[in-house]
């Protein structure tokens, strides 16, 4: 499974990079989301994956009796998911605003012509 996840990470990052090289603003946003997801999976993998052993202590016990999944990467990813949602939500609304203003999804339309002289 680790190898599959490693391939998945590569694909997510690759797709993210490809998308942020596009001219379309929506694609740019999707690319950023891919990169964020890729980073999450990367952190998840590096903590070591464990099947069926969530880091929750048994009702009866006060401490873990068995092996359990590493809680730290999970805490990190949880924070990352929430923050990236904030970013995405703001970006989506901003996109709509830009679209309303310039009637285009093309990043190049946002460039103001530069002055030639310095």
């Amino acid at each position: 499974m680790e190898l599959l996840l490693i391939i998945l990470i590569g694909l997510l990052y690759g797709a993210g990079v490809y998308m942020i090289l596009r001219r379309s603003m929506v694609k740019l946003l999707l690319g950023i989301m891919f990169l964020g997801t890729g980073a999450n999976v990367l952190i998840f993998l590096l903590g070591g994956i464990t099947k069926g052993k969530p880091p929750v202590i048994d009702e009866a016990a006060k401490m873990f009796q068995d092996v359990y999944a590493d809680p730290i990467p999970q805490a990190l990813i949880l924070t990352a998911i929430v923050i990236s949602f904030a970013l995405t939500a703001f970006a989506i609304v901003l996109l709509k605003r830009v679209y309303a203003l310039v009637d285009s999804d093309d990043l190049d339309d946002l460039n103001t012509p530069e002055e030639e002289d310095i």
């Binding site: 590096l46 949880l78 989506i92 609304v93």
Partner: protein, 771 residues
Amino acid sequence: MLLAVLSGLIFSIVLVFFGRAFKAKWSILIPILPTILVIYFAQMIPTISSGKGFLQHYDWVPSLGINFEFQLDGLSSLFALLITGIGSCIFFYGRAYLKGHPYFDRFFGYLLLFMSAMLGVVLSNNILLLFIFWELTSISSFFLIGFNNDSADSRKSAITALSITGIGGFFLLLALVLMGNIAGTYTITELIQHRDTILNHQFYPLIIGLLFIGAFTKSAQFPFHFWLPGAMKAPTPVSAYLHSATMVKAGIYLLARFTPILGNHTYWNTTLMVVGGITMLYAAIHSLFRIDMKAILAYSTISALGILTFLLGVGTKEAVVAACVFIVVHALYKATLFMVTGIVDHETHTRDITVLGGLRKVLFPVAIAAFLAALSSAGFPFLTFGFVGKDLIYEATLHYTNADWTWILTGATVATNIALVSAGFMAGIKPFVGPLPEKFEKVHLPYKAMWIPPLILAILGVFFGVLPAIAGDYFTTAASNTIWGMNTESYLKVWHGFNTVFTLSVVTLLGGTLIYAINKPSLAKLARIEKLNSISPQRIITGFANDIVRVGHWYTGIFHNGYLRSYHFKIILFAEALLAYRLWMSGPISLDMWDLTYPDLYEVAVIFILIGALYLVVSTASRLTAVVAMSVIGYCICLIFVIYSAPDLAMTQFTIDTLTTVLFVLVLYKLPPFINMTNRGIMVRDAIVATGFGIILSLVALKVWSEPISTEISDFYGENAYLLAKGKNVVNVILVDFRGIDTMFETVVLSIAALGVYSLIRLRLKSSEKE
């Protein structure tokens, strides 16, 4: 002495606030200051010439070794007297010259600032303090050259002068800091005691190299000389003061000041002799072809500065004495000639020597001053100080330590002086002799304040010529003692008898007169000389500067073209290179197959659905398809979290993914489909870069995963979640308890984003904003 140095600075600040008052009524107060200063320095002459000096010390930034340390010894006294003495003449002259000028107060503000800075340069006993004043002179010179700020030529010349002297200053600072660090002190009087340490240090050639760049740029030595003729765009009093008598001699002062510390070394002497020699010859010959009086004087000034550098390079006792005398000689006659030029320009509105003539009939006292100065510059025997100076120069070259070189050096100086004699005659005599053209008949004498100062200086030149011992005793001997480090006997005599030196002087004078008689400079000749400019240092250096600008444009065009994706492209490419290099260096990846978890079939299915959705997002032309596929990816990740023991993550991911999709669809449903905006080539290029990045990241992940990890912190949280925080879900405990404050700030971030979203949605578009 601190007050003496800073008084000009203070006065110029006063001018900033009360300039209006000083423009008319109180303008007489301005030249009083240099006059007071010249008296102040003059009353110290007896002490100085008896061999004593003054030292003063005020703390400023002691921790950095920068302090107000001043010393008045023979050399600085000579320069201080020149600065304040000629300064007084120039101030009186300038007041009349610029009467009624709208920027009158500004002009004197700059001039006072300059005088202050220049006094600071020659009186500083601390090399860092010296550097500060050195830069101030460059800055005030910049303002004065660009004084006629509505002329593009002026502005360009000012910038050229500032960049050349500024670059030189930068190198000078390097030299000074290096020297100070080697010797462990920044005080000049202490540096002299460390002479041997510096001389034997491996950085010695570097230090003098850097110091030379500083001195040569300031003193307009070849190949940095070209800013000086351009600096003649400044009003004439400025040219007389800064660009011939004082500021350009700062480089000479620097060399003289450091001769006891760094001098008398083969590198030092040879470089100075070669550079000074080239400069004096090159500029002297150039001066013969000019028709503008100021240009003639500019080139002959460069040539004189070359002679001074050359003499310091020769470095014998005779040469040092000659240099000190020549500084005074040159300052006296050149300031006079410049002021005369100013008067001619002021009254006739031209400086073209091919047009001017016969002005003695209308400007008689001015003609006398010019005539005396021209004779002094020619070294006319028995009567002028120039003769004494020239004698000493020949004396120095004839007695050079290496006999093989004697005749080469003497020949070069004779040739230079012949050209200078002719240049002096062209600027000082030509405009005043011959018939008076009709259009100049109405020319009349200007204010007394304009023609008396040059006359005083010219007469002083004659006075010292007749009684050179006075000049020697009071000014130059003390200065040459400082440079030489020991007592130099005074050589200053009018008559040495009929010897080689006298013969050479006569040859020089006759040769110069002959050239003056034959050489008729004209526009045509000037044009021919200008053609040679394509190989001149000016062309090369300004061309180089333009190239730098061009490289800047090119660089900006490539790296800052304003397209976001192009920035991304470069950043990612760079990151790939860096990561690939690091991966390569970190050696092979060793994978332990036993550590791997074997996936069940449904897990593999999830991964494949994910990859399919990923492909769909990248390739689809429909916005809605992309958003839906994106949500499929999110849910698949969610499933992975569920399977691999992360229920909290799964819940969060599920919620967030749903929300994002809803938001996307709600907000973006009316957008058009993607248009294919780029061609195939670029897409392939991007795909290659993206694939590379993906592969590298996979390898990084593999590499990190295969390394052992420490679980110490995780164990701590696992063990203490219930014991310390009374919670059984460890992830939640970490977030809300152990790292509670982090989570609080995360909430703040979320609220800010929410506020942003809310206000963007509520903000109504004005019809005028819509394009």
